[in-house]
Symmetry: C2
Subunit: 876 residues, 2 copies
Amino acid sequence: MDTKYVYRFIEGDAGMRELLGGKGANLAEMSKLGMPVPNGFTITTEACNKYYDDGEKINDEIKAQIFATLENLEKETGKKFGDSENPLLVSVRSGARASMPGMMDTILNLGINDTVAEVIAAKTGNPRFAYDSYRRFIQMFADVVKGLSKKRFEEIIDEVKKEKGVKNDLDLDAEDMKELVKRFKAFYREELGTDFPTDPKDQMMEAIEAVFRSWNNERAIYYRKQNDIPSSWGTAVNVQMMVFGNMGNDCGTGVAFTRNPATGERKLYGEFLMNAQGEDVVAGVRTPNKIDQLKEIAPEAYEQFVKICDTLEHHYKNMQDMEFTIENGKLFMLQTRNGKRTAQAALKIACDMVDEGMINTDEALLMVEPQQLDSLLHPMFDADALKEAEAVTTALPASPGAACGQIVFTAEEAIVEAANGKKVVLVRLETSPEDIQGMAAAEGILTVRGGMTSHAAVVARGMGACCVSGAGEIEMDEPNGQFTVNGQTFKRGDFISLDGSTGKVYGGAIPTVPAEISGDFDRFMKWADERRRLKIRTNADTPRDAAQAVSFGAEGIGLVRTEHMFFDGDKIKSIREMIVAKTPEQMEAALAKIEPLQQEDFEGIYEAMEGRPVTIRYLDPPLHEFLPHKAEEVAELAAEMGMEADELQAVVDGLHEVNPMMGHRGSRLAVSNPGIARMQTEAVIRAAINVNKKHPEWNIVPEIMLPLIGDLKELKYVKKIVDDTAKEILAEEGVDMEYHVGTMIEVPRAALQAGELAKEAEFFSFGTNDLTQLTFGFSRDDAGNFLPKYAEAKIYENDPFAKLDQTGVGELIKIAAERGRATRPDIKLGVCGEHGGDPASIEFVDGLGLNYVSCSPFRVPIARLAAAQAAIKHSK
Amino acid sequence: MDTKYVYRFIEGDAGMRELLGGKGANLAEMSKLGMPVPNGFTITTEACNKYYDDGEKINDEIKAQIFATLENLEKETGKKFGDSENPLLVSVRSGARASMPGMMDTILNLGINDTVAEVIAAKTGNPRFAYDSYRRFIQMFADVVKGLSKKRFEEIIDEVKKEKGVKNDLDLDAEDMKELVKRFKAFYREELGTDFPTDPKDQMMEAIEAVFRSWNNERAIYYRKQNDIPSSWGTAVNVQMMVFGNMGNDCGTGVAFTRNPATGERKLYGEFLMNAQGEDVVAGVRTPNKIDQLKEIAPEAYEQFVKICDTLEHHYKNMQDMEFTIENGKLFMLQTRNGKRTAQAALKIACDMVDEGMINTDEALLMVEPQQLDSLLHPMFDADALKEAEAVTTALPASPGAACGQIVFTAEEAIVEAANGKKVVLVRLETSPEDIQGMAAAEGILTVRGGMTSHAAVVARGMGACCVSGAGEIEMDEPNGQFTVNGQTFKRGDFISLDGSTGKVYGGAIPTVPAEISGDFDRFMKWADERRRLKIRTNADTPRDAAQAVSFGAEGIGLVRTEHMFFDGDKIKSIREMIVAKTPEQMEAALAKIEPLQQEDFEGIYEAMEGRPVTIRYLDPPLHEFLPHKAEEVAELAAEMGMEADELQAVVDGLHEVNPMMGHRGSRLAVSNPGIARMQTEAVIRAAINVNKKHPEWNIVPEIMLPLIGDLKELKYVKKIVDDTAKEILAEEGVDMEYHVGTMIEVPRAALQAGELAKEAEFFSFGTNDLTQLTFGFSRDDAGNFLPKYAEAKIYENDPFAKLDQTGVGELIKIAAERGRATRPDIKLGVCGEHGGDPASIEFVDGLGLNYVSCSPFRVPIARLAAAQAAIKHSK
């Protein structure tokens, strides 16, 4: 059988969303429910894909199906394209599978030409309406189909108004509209060298093609990328008989939500305009009326509409967002869809609908986007103050929340000024591990360089601090303590405000308000916790982060990055002494200084976690990260350490690596410098013993995680260092304490060798950041140079560092999980890379039956909900 | 049943080599054949492993088995340890599965103490012999078991000789020997604080333990590493009744080969000494006699020996290396094994034995080590001249052959001086891609930094040029045009000689001789070609290399690295213009300059290969490799290019990468800069058209290989650029020519996605260098900092860049081969990484059924033989 590319509304239903798009499927569903929907048909998303496959051409088969269905429409409506008695006018609208509001194009009033306009004028006795519709059609067609500037049309309207001496569109009469049509057509011919098309069929085919094309316009591509919509889905096109809200004062048009999309309140919420077409409501030229005023203006239509709203909400079991038109007092439904809503509204609606008995808790859990919760966890700008503000630049929304403070340019300044009680924003070209304390002290971080996965972005998200990154328009002038952006200069101490959720940077101080966490939030998250199978842990390196994560519901720590602790205070000094040590004795002496400090770190974390499990990863980065690289900094440090600059430079040079990501790091450090692993073991074991003494009820069982392991012999070698040290200390302290040793799975070889590794490893934690880097052969630090081009070329539509690559990296995780379990059936499996907080990635690893994911504190609630949704989907 | 750890010789046979070691198995076999072998027993390799598992202790079970077998030996020989009438003396010798000549330890005359010495003196009427044996035993025991310096013992002997006024050991009489025993024991006590052990059983157990320990002495570890012998094999220990070659003038000892190990001549070859023990022959104190002189001295023993030699050679079907002793005119066999031989001898012996009907050609092919052939392909030092020379330093034997020339310090100098007819050796801290022409112009390359897989080493091996790398003892002083090593200073223009096979560096000029390739070589390689299934291609970037490889038997080129061509002449200039281009027009203009030059390159290679298949890989390295990095070089180049230094520096900075191995390279360049792929396609297609016009009989079918592909969409994207360009040119030229497009498999994701990739790729070539880097997460450039430690810790005993990691990387190759074939059954599969020339890796990929391997020209003969051996092994 030939493929069916065109469906009449009555041939479809809501289940055919993939083929008919959301709008088409819902128009079909409403038709089926007997609601007043103007007749029409949908050209499928498959036709759109075929259009692109055929090199942007609508082939003859599809054309034939369109014309056949059009003929049927003409028969059913008794109207005819171009007819001199009962002419058919249609709208042509896009409708993708997922709702993409305003992203693609719409053409109304299609089918008008000079003849038809006259017929309509005569038939309706309303020539102004006829020519108003005509000029609107020309405007939309010229814009959408031909890409002519909208501005020029507005100018022409202004010219005519001026000539006539009026200010309002409504003051233009039929003759003026006729004049506009004339001038519009002239401009069209002038610009394009052809006359405006008069044959309605030609108009329609051009419009359909334009909608297909609009699937790949810039804003649609951007929206898809933001919302993870694959480009392969395509858009459907809906051709629908026009009904007119602008035919007179018993006509009108409006949009409404079944509940308040901002607050979730259960009350019809919407706006309408009488004697207007759809775009007038949105355009804001006239101020629309509140929906309940319709009760007085058109009581019958209003009653009918309220009833329909209720039916639709119960039918779809979700808050609906609808468009309607009233033509000569008669109501027509033009669209319904699940309404977009704020996080707060989403939670309230979900809870209310459960209480109303409309949905069960599983359905409620599936109704809220996990990512949305993020906005409930961070401070926000005061909404009124924000209205006045204009951004000086917009960069990457690297870590959400709002921040306002005085500009500082170094981590040291940030620490000092914050200690003085000032609120500061740290502005840097880019951040590095030494800046961490300064970043923690600042309200927000603004960087000139770096992407969504830059150091600043990753660390800020981990801290829950607001961060805007990659603000390339900023020209730094550090020597003069200032920077310039788009002509404005900001000096040290000036106020600046950042919105980490939008990437906008504002000059001056915009007050922030703490986020509101309503009771619904708590209730909702408890449902999620009951439903999910995956445990949620957090990645945290400080007691502060640990406590924050626990308050967000973390059940343990999946990753303590011990190296982050190495940067503060005396530790960095001793670490550097260890690195430059020339004799084993010097090295041991330096390690002996670090041990008690490191132990103190671990005790703090154990205290904060109150007996919850904590996985501590041993030193991971290459040692050169702890030394400066610039000659002047080396000289300075050398002086501080009582060394010759040359000598220290030689150490720095000796540690230099061509590809540090694949260099001397992870457990390779433990193999070459067992003293470090010994010191860390001592610190972990002693910390656990001490805290257990104070809180025997916590019964802490240390979990020691070895990074970057690739082979069983390597794991055995490092594990032996750990075991020997641990045994020695336990014997010395006369304590009998369990502890576990596990490994990261982050090099592809480890995934393949998981069956072997599980002989020694009591748990695996998938380090999906490094595993992604190595599986693709991409450096995360460098991929920014080519990944955008890959996204543009539709090779990789998602950033694999944000969303787990299920086919490649995912297969390695699957292999490792299977082989690990075959050797050790009760092996504990978790994910501790950035993907641990990404809902799609969580769904994937839930499907593999992993035990937990670990993510940054501010992602814990997201992960809890995502895990619940995954469990619901997998139980189906 | 309990494990049997000790076997009497008559309980074993040659098939038990794994358990009994080579020596033990062959002693058993000779016993079984009825040859005169002194009675004894073997302690197994399993006992050795148990010894290590038990923490370097011989457990009671093994001890009991040893003593029980010893008791049996005493019964059978009628001799007894420490007996006052018929004392038993034994030798204790190591014997690993693979022959490791001289690597481990041997103790003779064990069982002597003061009493036994007197008994022997009386019984033999030869007190000198008794005390000579005694003092030898003390010397060996002190050295092998206790690690005392041999030197001191030699000094004591010299003192006694001096006191006596004689020069030769043979001039010392019984009393002198007694005196030596006294002084040796005194020295032993002084050094160790204990008396020399008098109980023969204690002596034996200590000796056995010492042999086990010797398995892990430094030279044994080194030898194993050189010869790929796993440390898990362990060594056996042979305890054997002593027979004495030093009991008088009707006694003697010798070693012999059934054929000449240097030339392969079929004639008994060996040496012996009368009235001597084994070590005297080797030590060179006395000059031994040629084996045929034995005919006159001990005709009966000689006759018997000749017969035994013949029997053994036929029995083992291989040239034998034997040890024997004559005691009072009676012959005893102490060892037989397959003899080590030169490559030349190996080929002659293999061919002769086929002609003699002793073996078939398969057996002949298995008889020669593929690696050995290497020595037949490179020039060598004149052997006499070499005898005089002493190395000034020894570094890594990075690329074999000998080279002699005048020192230059830059690639430019090398080119200029070579053009002036001088022979030069290029000495550099390390080399980089810009040095390639200079390296080609030099006789040899010496680098201060870098390992066996450094740039210099890899490129030199590819060129077949001699290279010594990592000569860290050299202190460079480039500003003064000189370097210093171990106190000697060498100036620009001084002569220096390198041995790339040993890593030795000599001052002065040592003449070299071209290698001799005898007729046997040709004949032998033809057998290999008939037998192998794998095709052998070469990695070659120039017509010179291509021709060289063809002369060595290459059947095609598996890898043309186009970037190597980019460095010479005008190309580098245009490449740089392309990189700094600011507009598409400038970029196109630069590419247009490169295209004809690149086309010329390809034509040259097609001409050299005379119709054999050639796989051309598109540009692979990141673009920053084509720009200088040092400020002064940037300034210089900027001036040359008519740019501001700042401007060029900005380009260099912009291209900087944190991890260039995982950066913007490979097909990522084609995605971001399609112009490069278009230019290369034009060059390939036009070159093939032109050469086909001249030589229609060659019918060249271009093979285009896309590097670093990780996803089907990426492959499609780049392939489309290739196809569009190719079609355009073929249409323009009116030519109908086939061409193939394939992909490298070098990122793990590509291996996993091979089933998808095979939809578009007509062939896969495994880039095992990069695949190894990414699978392990090792950077080849940086792994030198920790891999030695990993080898030492026995984690990775082989360098995975030299020998394919079969479990990790190998599994990915297996997965890719299976999935690729499932999609496209006739897909062509090859290996083009460094491993393509490694015999073990070749055997592995032959097992996977790959179609070809590609290696550097000088490895082609090795690969041909290795492929034949693999085919023979897999057909069994």
